[in-house]
Amino acid sequence: MTTVDQDLEPAAPSAVEGERLTAPSGGKPQRRGRRAAGFTPYALITPAIIVLAAIVGWPLVQLIITSFQEFGRAQVFGAPPSWVWFDNYIDVFTDPVFYGVLGRTLLFAGACVAVTMVLSTLIALMLVRLPKGFRMLLTVGMLLAWAMPALTATIVWGWMFDTAYGVINYALVNWFGLAEFDQHQWLINPLSFFMVAGIIVVWGAVPFAAFTLYAGLTQVPGEVLEAAQLDGAGGFARFRLIIFPYLKPIFMIVTMLQVIWDLKVFTQIFALQDIGGIRAQTNTLGVYIYQTSIAGGDFGHGGAIAVITAVLLMAISIYYIRQVLKEEEL
């Protein structure tokens, strides 16, 4: 049994890592030594359970209840909510605006995930072949981008794409002679709004994906590749027949995480709308829930949309959770 951390940190200075060497087979001895004690473990998980029940469990129940009720501003101020059962869901599912939001979210997330995964795979392959100095350089650059909070990243990119003083319009006009980009408004047109948002999302997501894939790549045994090369396999054939099969599990997990993260994108879209987008034409599911319930005060419909979003994401996550459970041998 090998884990990424053990293999990638051969000389880790931490005491924990050192101790691991004395018990390289990980899980099994622990399982044997695990105590069957009556009351103690329950006492130990109680604080966590209480917090999670209060802030996740109870609100989740309330969310589902509210989605079956008519719950507007009047109810916030004390009027009793009335049960409307599936009316909210029927309204949502017959509302063309919802389908617009849903389609936009799926397309945007799909495009972001595809671009992120292709770029990350290429960068990971590149990291393997780079001389050490250049590899360090690129690593540091990606770490900086990765560390940047989503909100500040969005604001900075928004400033770079600024109509009057943005560096991107400046470069396009003065360096590339594209005069039509003088005073060009990037965020007014929904399509170009989502292009900018996509750049921000991909820029922030590539480092994590590329580092993870690179970690996976370093596990591909060199002997197998050499053998394939001797047998006359070209670069692409080696990637398709050897590297990718080795990489597939980690590739799938990273893709799943990207799908989940990109489907619930909020900060980037919300802040970019502040800078200059037209909200009604650029809402994604996360922002739409906020607009309907918090800004619009319609908690019933907002609840229904939230439940639909949660169900969609949970359905996608099932594969991921099963994978993790299988690998972790709980």
């Binding site: 030594g33 590149m126 350089l137 770490l143 909070p149 060199g222 599990p249 800078i275 906020y290 994401l313």
Partner: protein
């Protein structure tokens, strides 16, 4: 609600086993040079926005709004920081920074304690609902926070905790707890029980053995996990936007957004100074721990 998973980037120094298959040949050397050049371009693409934020923040707003773009802060100034930090406007910076710091520190400390207890329970004890508990932790991480804003808002409102440090802190604890438990679980698992058993044979009590032997070995894990909790809570935006909307109770992200909306696109220099102030603690912390952090969730994918 978000699973920050981090592979260890110390991998960079690990010997790439693919290298061996790649050596030799003039064509190879050309490819290597092309790739090196490309890596410099990519480096610039990743770093430029960060550089641009800092660069703009050190320029007078007149330069920023001039017809020429300044690629270096030629007329270096700290005025923007002065204005942002001591701005007596409706949404002052200093209280927001204080709120962020208090909420984040409280969150990290309490979440670490709770998560530590829970991770000891699932790694060192066998009990009936153990598997169900771990599964719950995993599933909770997948619930989108966006879907929960409304009902969390109503629960906190019901407790009269809107616009308070306590309200936001308890929500953040719940937000970082699943990830923290999951990660600490891995670290506790890494310390063999045999060590504790040896200490018990030497006369330690069970709790004493755990406290004297295992706990000190967990320090790096606790620090790494704590820093990641710090980053998550410091950056959190949606919940803070909804729960602490009153100007004097805002956290930094909400303050920054308010500052952005209030100044429109007229004061980019000030906005960049604010962004830098918010981003710097995160970037520093992130660079410190990134090598330490082992991949809690992704590691599973490479096994076997």
């Amino acid at each position: 609600m978000s699973a920050a998973v981090t592979p260890t980037t110390r991998a960079v120094t690990a010997p790439g086993s693919l290298d061996r298959a790649r050596r030799g040949g003039g064509r190879r050397r050309v490819t290597t040079w092309l790739l090196s050049a490309l890596s410099v371009v990519l480096f610039a693409l990743f770093v430029f926005p960060v550089y641009w934020m800092v660069n703009t923040s050190f320029q007078p707003n007149n330069d920023v709004r001039g017809s020429e773009v300044h690629f270096f802060p030629d007329n270096f100034t700290l005025r923007n920081y002065e204005t942002v930090i001591f701005d007596p406007g409706r949404t002052p910076f200093l209280p927001a920074a204080a709120n962020s710091l208090i909420v984040t520190l409280l969150t990290v400390i309490i979440a670490l304690v709770f998560a530590f207890l829970a991770s000891v329970a699932v790694t060192r004890f066998r009990f009936k609902s153990r598997r169900a508990f771990i599964l719950t932790i995993l599933v909770i991480q997948m619930i989108p926070g966006e879907a929960m804003i409304v009902s969390v808002f109503r629960v906190i409102d019901g407790w009269q905790l809107l616009n308070t440090i306590a309200g936001l802190t308890i929500v953040y604890i719940a937000t970082v707890l699943p990830f923290t438990i999951w990660t600490l679980r891995g670290f506790v698992n890494g310390v063999p029980v045999e060590l504790e058993e040896a200490a018990m044979i030497d006369g330690c009590s069970r709790a004493g053995a755990f406290w004297r032997v295992t706990f000190p070995l967990l320090a790096p894990g606790l620090i790494a996990t704590g820093v990641f909790g710090f980053i998550q809570a410091w950056n959190e935006f949606i919940m803070a936007l909804v729960l602490n909307a009153r100007p004097e109770m805002m956290t930094l992200p909400v303050w920054l957004r308010t500052f952005l909306v209030a100044n429109g696109t007229t004061n980019w220099a000030g906005i960049m100074a604010g962004s830098t102030l918010m981003a710097i603690p995160v970037i520093v912390f992130f660079l410190i721990v990134q090598g330490r952090m082992t991949s809690g969730l992704v590691s599973g994918a490479v096994k076997g």
